[in-house]
């Protein structure tokens, strides 16, 4: 087959339909990645305009530009949009776009999940923007402290918009996290072991892993607060056994890792772009991998440093202070790795390098003020002042914006096939850099002079007038700088010089792709034996285009890419990816209906929407899989591998593992909240404890055991091709699980106090609800396997679906027992029949 014929064949398989149909059903990672980046940039612009309004208001004392009601919405939306709608989605988009190309793959592991995440992000953003247009935007600050955000003090819909809108968007973040983790671990070019991965993939792997366990605490916190607001269950109300600090713990348990979640991908860009700019391969690759793993781990042990002034005992503060200081070490290791690379090479001050220089300057300062803030006594003085505002902008703009800009300019030829204007780009850089420092350097002083955060105005005579005016002027210079950058990028896309295929002479695989990027990325996939697989000539690119690598063929019109063993990179399976579909947008729309129903208080509609979501999920799962045993396939280059349906560790199995990890983090956070309230909140022990029923608990236990055994029998029978016996096993397991769910409900009904009286009752009912929801989901899954057995989608070779369902079932059973124990054990004395 000639290169052109191969190209046409693959384009037919991987391309998308023309027109709106194509737009709405597209699951291609390049298109979705671009969409994420463009939409996130729009949110950056909106958030930036809000920032300009804030600076306009603060430029002079007693300004009458906006009042506190509007001002509070402005800064709340500025923070929320920049964090949730810009920073996270932007790097998700970049990672989605780049990762498969860097890893020598044709797409991400779950293309339809990417599309679902995209639509959730888009629809969730509409909720936030719609509320803002109506003047109903959230106004409690982007971290929404309770009780200010509780119903009593924010009676309007504003807080609900935040809680539901942001949670909806977070679904997209969690989807992306699972998607990216599994893609890095499983979907690489054969031969690419973990230690041969491009360094960017390591950064994304750690970041995505952090998101898997970082977002659930926030989702839990939002869920609890929304339940409190909607139904009066008092999780955060100190009058009824709740505690306002529970919100802060859960929020910052997410919120601090969030900072590193934003920083790490940007650092990954520095580690990728800097070596190319200085003409030397990265020094200390292993050190950097180690330091980002350490960083990812320790970032979960720092959250209390946002709460140094809340009255926590000083000994505990000292611990978190030391941890917060020490977390700087892995970052310094990276910085010295970059410096060593520069010293070993010949730095070229091309535009991406200029942005990396800006990153060094600004991020260093932000990191240093961060260490200062980690010192408890200083924190007591400057916490909640403009000093912190300045610090966090140094960290986030220095540590995220500048590397991202470096990345955009570095990959611009890859994204657009064009190069930008050399002078305009530099002008934009210097305006942004100067404007930024004028705005925020002086803001440290404003804070030290005593100006608190989030004040809509201030009196003259406090020494704050001139620093605020300077900040405001600087911010407008920065805004002009960003406008110049946008113009420069726009001109580059429209009229820029055409770029050669590998303009920076980089050595990573994304530069082996033709321009413009084909829908299938590479006509055949390479075998990777070094960290820098790309040669100076285009020999590799040519041989891949000619189909001489893996999977350079059209097999029955299937979308194929290589799946590897996680550590060694050995080819283990041919992954067959699903194509374009209406399911992602339909499911996202149904999910959106669920959130909208809660937002406007149509509580009867919410379960209906959930049923639709479940039905669509069933269809979604049913559209995957295979009904024929294939055996080992020819994968090209003389290699053979089975299709992923017949592999032991298919991407879907790992996807479930990480989904359940996120789910378990949610449950652990809930148990943490329970223990926190029980030990810290006033009004405990509660006036009325659970009086658990032995009978109901016994039925739950028996049903759980029955479900466990029946599923075990069902899976064994599937492996032995005894379909009838297997179906009976799954049917029995589903029935037993249904009984367990009903018994759990009865257990609650008979023995638990009302949820609205005291936080204890509220927490135990949420725990119970967790068990019931999971039991119902697992029941559906068991029924699904029973159905699949009959339809011929399960065979002794194709055991993926039963094995995935086993994971979910066993997790669910364990969770139900844990819930039962958590409710029953503290009240052990009050059990009754």
């Amino acid at each position: 087959m000639t290169a052109l014929k191969l190209h046409n064949a693959l384009e037919t398989i991987w391309g998308r339909p023309r027109g709106w149909r194509g737009v709405l059903t597209n699951v291609n990672h390049s298109d979705l990645g671009l969409r994420f980046m463009i939409a996130a940039s729009v949110y950056f612009a909106i958030g930036g305009v809000l920032a300009m309004l804030i600076r306009a208001q603060l430029s002079t004392p007693r300004a009458a530009f906006v009042g506190p009601e509007i001002y509070n919405q402005l800064f709340t939306m500025h923070g929320s949009l920049m964090m949730f709608m810009f920073a996270i989605p932007f790097f998700e988009g970049l990672a989605m776009y780049m990762l498969p190309k860097l890893l020598g793959s044709r797409d991400l592991a779950f293309p339809r999940l990417s599309a679902f995440g995209w639509w959730c992000y888009l629809f969730g953003g509409f909720i936030l923007l719609g509320a803002m247009a109506l003047g109903l935007a959230p106004d409690g600050g982007w971290f929404m402290y309770t009780p200010l955000a509780s119903k009593t003090y924010t009676p309007g819909i504003n807080a609900d918009v935040w809680l539901l809108g942001i949670t909806f968007v977070e679904i997209s973040a969690v989807c992306a996290a699972i998607e990216l983790t599994v893609s890095v671990l499983k979907l690489r070019a054969p031969g690419m072991s973990l230690m041969r991965m491009p360094i960017f993939a390591w950064y994304i792997l750690v970041t995505a892993g952090m998101m898997v366990v970082g977002f659930p605490p926030l989702i839990l916190a939002s869920t609890l607060l929304e339940i409190e607001r909607a139904f009066g269950w008092p999780f955060f109300d100190p009058e009824r056994g709740g505690h306002p600090l529970l919100w802060q713990h859960l929020f910052w348990l997410f919120g601090h890792p969030e900072v590193y979640i934003i920083f790490l991908p940007a650092a990954g860009i520095v580690s990728t772009v800097l070596p190319v700019m200085v003409r030397h391969s990265l020094i200390g690759y292993g050190w950097i991998v180690g330091s980002i793993l350490v960083l990812g781990f320790f970032s979960f042990g720092l959250w209390v440093h946002h709460m140094f002034a809340t009255g926590i005992p000083h000994l505990a503060l000292a611990f978190f202070s030391a941890a917060s200081a020490l977390v700087a070490v892995p970052t310094v290791v990276q910085i010295f790795g970059w410096l060593a690379t520069m010293w070993a090479g010949r730095p070229m001050l091309w535009l991406p390098m200029l942005y990396i220089g800006g990153f060094f300057f600004i991020f260093l300062l932000g990191g240093l003020t961060g260490v200062m803030l980690a010192m408890v006594p200083l924190n007591w003085q400057v916490h909640d002042t403009a000093f912190v505002t300045a610090h966090l902008h140094y960290v986030l703009i220095g540590g995220f914006m500048f590397p991202m800009m470096a990345g955009i300019y570095y990959w611009l030829p890859r994204l657009t096939g064009r190069r930008s204007h050399p002078l305009l780009g530099r002008l934009g850089f210097w305006l942004v850099f100067a404007g930024f420092n004028v705005t925020f350097l002086v803001m440290h002083l404003t804070g030290l002079l005593g100006m608190p955060r989030r004040v809509y105005t201030y009196q003259p005579g406090l020494g704050w007038d001139w620093p605020n005016l300077v900040s405001s002027m600087g911010s407008f210079v920065m805004a002009i700088g960003f406008a110049v950058v946008v113009i420069d990028l726009g001109l580059a896309v429209l009229f820029g010089r055409r770029s050669s295929r590998n303009p920076w002479r980089a050595a990573t695989l994304e530069w082996a792709l033709p321009m413009p990027v084909p829908s299938y990325n590479l006509a055949s996939l390479p075998h990777v034996e070094t960290r820098e697989p790309l040669d100076r000539g285009h020999a590799l690119a040519r041989s891949l285009a000619a189909g001489e690598g893996y999977l350079g063929r059209d097999r029955e019109g299937l979308r194929e890419t290589t799946g590897v063993e996680m550590v060694s990179g050995r080819l283990t399976e041919v992954v067959v990816l699903p194509g374009n579909s209406w399911l992602p947008i339909a499911t996202a729309a149904a999910t959106g209906c669920f959130f909208l129903a809660l937002l406007v208080g149509l509580y009867w509609l919410a379960p209906v929407a959930l049923v639709v979501v479940a039905a669509l999920a069933w269809r979604w799962a049913a559209a995957l899989g295979s009904d024929t045993d294939r055996g080992p396939l020819d994968a090209g280059r003389g290699a053979v591998a089975p299709p992923h349906h017949e592999a032991e560790e298919a991407p879907g199995w790992w996807g479930s593992v990480f989904t359940l990890t996120a789910d378990a983090t949610f449950l652990m956070s809930l148990l943490f909240g329970y223990a926190f309230l029980a030990t810290v909140a006033p009004g405990w022990p509660p006036p009325e404890m659970a009086r658990p029923s032995f009978a109901a608990a016994g039925i739950v236990l028996l049903a759980v055991l029955a479900a466990f055994l029946a599923e075990r029998e069902g899976l064994a029978a599937s492996r032995a091709a005894a379909t009838a016996r297997a179906r009976a096993g799954y049917g029995l397991a589903a029935t037993a699980l249904g009984a367990a769910v009903l018994a759990l409900l009865a257990f609650g009904w008979l023995g638990l106090p009302a949820p609205s009286g005291h936080a204890y009752g509220a927490v135990v009912w949420v725990l119970l609800g967790y068990g019931v929801v999971h039991g119902s989901i697992a029941m559906l899954m068991l029924a699904f396997v029973r159905h699949r057995l009959a339809a011929g989608y399960v065979s002794p070779a194709r055991m993926l679906e039963p094995r995935v369902v086993r994971l979910w079932l066993r997790y669910t059973l364990a969770a139900m027992l844990l819930v039962l124990a958590a409710i029953g054990l503290p009240g052990a004395a009050s059990w009754r029949w």
């Binding site: 009601e69 509070n72 409690g140 600050g141 402290y145 200010l148 003090y153 100190p238 009058e239 306002p244 600090l245 200390g284 050190w287 002034a309 809340t310 009255g311 000083h314 000292a318 202070s321 200081a325 020490l326 700087a328 070490v329 310094v332 290791v333 990276q334 910085i335 010295f336 410096l339 520069m342 010293w343 070993a344 090479g345 010949r346 220089g357 060094f360 260093l364 260490v371 200062m372 980690a374 010192m375 408890v376 006594p377 200083l378 924190n379 007591w380 003085q381 916490h383 909640d384 002042t385 002083l445 030290l448 002079l449 005593g450 100006m451 955060r453 989030r454 005579g461 406090l462 020494g463």
Partner: protein
Amino acid sequence: MSGDGDAGVGVAEDLLGMKRVEIRIAGPRLLAAAHRLAPAAIAAGLAAGLGGCAGPLSTLDPAGPAARSISVLMLVLLVLAALSFVVIFGLFLLALRRRRSRAVSQRLFLVGGGLVFPLVLLSVATIYGVVLGERIIGARERPALSIEARAERWHWQFTREGQGGSVTRRDILDVPAGRTVEIVVTSADVIHSFWVPRLAGKIDAIPGMRNRILIRADVPGRYGGVCAEFCGTGHAEMGFTLVAHDPEAWADLERGAAR
């Protein structure tokens, strides 16, 4: 405050040279030395033109021991940070001048620069911060007086038990100058934060909790206070005034309360 035989007892001139204050530091001599030198550096910094740092709410114009020792900590950290910045960004700028590839010592950069350099500086800073923090919360100190500060959107109620019953004032906090006072901070509604920048750090006013902070004004006068935690539309206007009275005025006040 009397020296209790701690390893380092530094006596420093007040910023304006008007009054002698003692700054006691328990812990390594190095830190004590830094503590002795730093006020001189502050004075030099002020002389160098940071006169704009004074202000009714300025942490850089401290008027009590807690705020003063924190401003010294701030300066020490600022110097350390500036040095680190010069080293690292200097290496970056110097590297930009390199025109030929050359071998570098990976160990020097990664172990020396990446591990040893930050670990030393961070350890010094952290120990300093923890020791100072212990001192400021005054675990061993018996305050002369306890006053309750109750935050309610958007004002403060300060209640003091006097000889003749309790006295409550709105947005005015009377304290005796030169004596350490305990403020017990609570809230009636949402979270607020009690902060008198020239005297001490802040402590949150949280419903359902009773937080305490020690505060002392060295000289009589009026000191501005603010609510530092965002608490809704009136947040910007939730200020108060701390009035530190000289001994006679304070005695009058106490007698007045008794009548």
